[in-house]
């Protein structure tokens, strides 16, 4: 990573942050909506307490752990969602004509995508903190093996979600119809990524889909660390899978960025929206 790339990452992250958090109302909203999400996750589970569906989930996660299961699933999901939203915001660059101006510069394309994804880290980190505080307040019996393991949990969320974010960003280079990518990636990720339903409870075909989403393994690691006091050896398999998925996403991003720019230079679609 050279100095120019680092400069591009920083410039893009600052620009996105300033563009999004342009008023104090945005910070206020950031305080409100994680709390609303927290309550929403709690009460979406409540009506099913004691039901057959609840029993099915309880079979995989344990009766007394259902709420913690949903909570940590949401923590993980929201982390990824923030990055997907940042990628979606990037599509507005096309509308405002600034995407062309970015591509007019010699800045590292990957650097710009990374910077855009990193701008969401602020939001994600905040959400994570709010949810964790909520978890600590709600569950006094959190089972964490060592102080080192929550750091592993954070990294297993941050790195894959950044990889996911830049991958989504690079897709937007190819197409101006961003809606299709949300349909293809966001909803299936929410459904099959194990945020709400235990991944082992899925049929094989759904597991095959879910297995490709980094959220599946990030959520699994976070849950094991916070709910089951997992040590490093317990999450080794998930970490390996997650690493492979991240490498795959990163390589795919590099390819898409190169192809995307070349395609845009051929078709002139960078200015279309």
């Amino acid at each position: 990573m050279n100095k120019h790339m680092l400069k591009s990452i920083k410039a893009e992250a600052i620009k996105q942050h300033k563009s999004v958090y342009h008023s104090s109302l945005m910070y206020f909203s950031m305080l409100i909506w994680p709390v609303l999400h927290l309550f929403s996750s709690y009460y979406s589970y409540k009506p099913f307490e004691g039901s057959a569906a609840s029993e099915l989930v309880a079979k995989w996660v344990g009766e007394d752990m259902i709420f913690a299961f949903i909570l940590f699933g949401y923590i993980s999901f929201i982390f990824f969602k923030c990055f997907v939203q940042s990628a979606w915001r990037f599509s507005f660059e096309r509308i405002s004509g600034t995407l062309e101006l970015i591509y007019l510069t010699p800045a590292s394309r990957l650097g710009v995508m990374l910077g855009n994804a990193l701008a969401s880290l602020f939001e994600s980190a905040w959400m994570f903190t709010v949810f964790c505080v909520g978890a600590i307040v709600l569950f006094t019996d959190l089972n964490i093996s060592s102080i080192f393991m929550p750091i592993v949990a954070v990294f297993s969320l941050v790195i894959p979600s950044i990889c996911w974010g830049i991958f989504m960003n690079s897709l937007f280079m190819f197409s101006r119809d961003t809606g299709i990518f949300f349909t293809l990636f966001q909803t299936p990720m929410e459904l099959f990524g194990g945020a709400k339903i235990p991944f082992p409870a899925f049929p094989i075909w759904a597991k095959l889909i879910g297995g490709f989403f980094p959220l599946t393994w990030s959520a699994s690691i976070v849950r094991k660390i916070f709910m089951h006091g997992a040590i490093f050896a317990d999450i080794k398999a998930e970490l390996i899978l997650l690493t492979l998925i991240c490498i795959g996403l990163f390589l795919l991003t590099l390819l898409l960025l190169r192809r995307g720019e070349s395609y845009a230079r051929k078709t002139g679609n960078m200015a279309l929206f």
């Binding site: 100095k3 120019h4 400069k7 591009s8 920083k10 410039a11 893009e12 600052i14 620009k15 300033k18 563009s19 342009h22 405002s96 004509g97 600034t98 062309e100 101006l101 970015i102 591509y103 007019l104 510069t105 010699p106 800045a107 710009v112 070349s262 230079r265 051929k266 078709t267 002139g268 960078m270």
Partner: protein, 332 residues
């Protein structure tokens, strides 16, 4: 020096042929364009909508890949050395887009400056100078969304100069601007070429703007060059090409009709006739200034109710030039 030879650009577009049916269609946006821009000179690129002006600018600024031909900018190849060329060129387009409205002018310039990897100290100095240069000093730290159209355009100019480009491509920079602001911008553009030695390519719809600023002009239509020359040459062709006279007369006797037709066909000109309310309206299109001859001819045989000589328009000149070129090509 920027030298483009035989530049070509095709777009593939989909043409709907029925429900869920479409076929691919190739549109030749630029057919073969030769162009030279010398440092310190302003070159005009004139043409109607869809002529290929913006496509040319985007190719020269590396945003579009040419499908044929070659272009070198200070010895660098447009396709092979695109990333190096990005350091020495920039583009300014008309309109209010292409800046971040929620950022201040300074923040916008800082952002783009960093993408060009300009060292921080130098960038700060350059931003201060540019902000002063475009007259935004007093509102440099205000969000762009509060700026007027002219101020946003001035910020665009500062943004286009942030990397101190050797070649600047200006795509209709005065589009939609008030006359005084457009005048300031023209003055400013001239100083960029004369004082700072920048090679500038300027596209415009306005012949006056081209006459005032450019050292050399290319006229393109439907992706092809129809003429090149000094602004004076272009202006004279425009003037000669498109004289139009709208005349209202109260009668149109046959003798006059024959005389007019004979006269106009001798100078390869044409007329259209409309009759209403007992009067006749004649619209004469000609390449020559025949105002006095027309008045003399008509007044001898009828009463002239009104006579209006229409100012020549660049659009008419381009159409005429294109027709002439097509005719020449067909009979070559």
């Amino acid at each position: 020096m920027l030298i483009a030879k035989g530049l070509k650009k095709n777009y593939i577009s989909k043409e709907k042929t029925g429900f869920l049916k479409s076929r691919l269609k190739t549109v030749e946006a630029i057919k073969s364009l030769d162009l030279t821009i010398r440092p310190g000179k302003i070159v005009g690129l004139l043409g109607l909508n869809g002529a290929g002006k913006t496509t040319t600018i985007k190719m020269l600024s590396t945003l579009l890949e040419p499908d044929g031909g070659s272009c070198s900018i200070d010895g660098l190849d447009l396709t092979r050395d695109a990333f190096k060329i990005k350091h020495i060129v920039n583009m300014i387009a008309g309109g209010e887009r292409m800046v971040y409205w929620r950022l201040t002018a300074r923040e916008n310039l800082e952002y783009f400056g960093k993408l060009y990897n300009i060292p921080n100290n130098e960038l700060n100095k350059r931003i201060d100078n540019l902000i002063e240069f475009v007259g935004l000093n007093e509102r440099a730290n205000e969000a762009v969304e509060k700026y007027s159209k002219g101020m946003k355009q001035r910020l665009q100019i500062a943004r286009g100069l942030i990397n101190d480009p050797k070649y600047l491509f200006m795509d209709e920079p005065t589009l939609g601007l008030d006359a005084p602001i457009a005048r300031d911008l023209r003055k400013f553009t001239k100083s960029l070429a004369n004082k700072e030695g920048k090679g500038i390519l300027l596209t415009s719809h306005y012949i006056n703007e081209i006459e005032e600023l450019c050292d050399y002009v290319y006229i393109i239509n439907q992706g092809q060059k129809v003429m090149e020359g000094s602004p004076k040459e272009i202006a004279s062709i425009v003037a000669n090409c498109t004289n139009k006279y709208h005349i209202k007369i109260n009668s149109f006797p046959d003798k006059l009709k024959v005389q007019l037709e004979t006269y106009l066909s001798a100078i390869q000109s044409d007329y259209q006739l409309d009759g209403a309310d007992g009067s006749f309206e004649i619209c004469v299109s000609t390449h020559k200034d025949i105002q006095s001859e027309l008045i003399a001819m008509l007044s001898q045989q009828t009463k002239i109710i009104s006579f209006a000589a229409m100012e020549p328009k660049l659009e008419d000149a381009i159409i005429t030039l294109s027709e002439v070129r097509a005719y020449e090509q067909a009979h070559a």
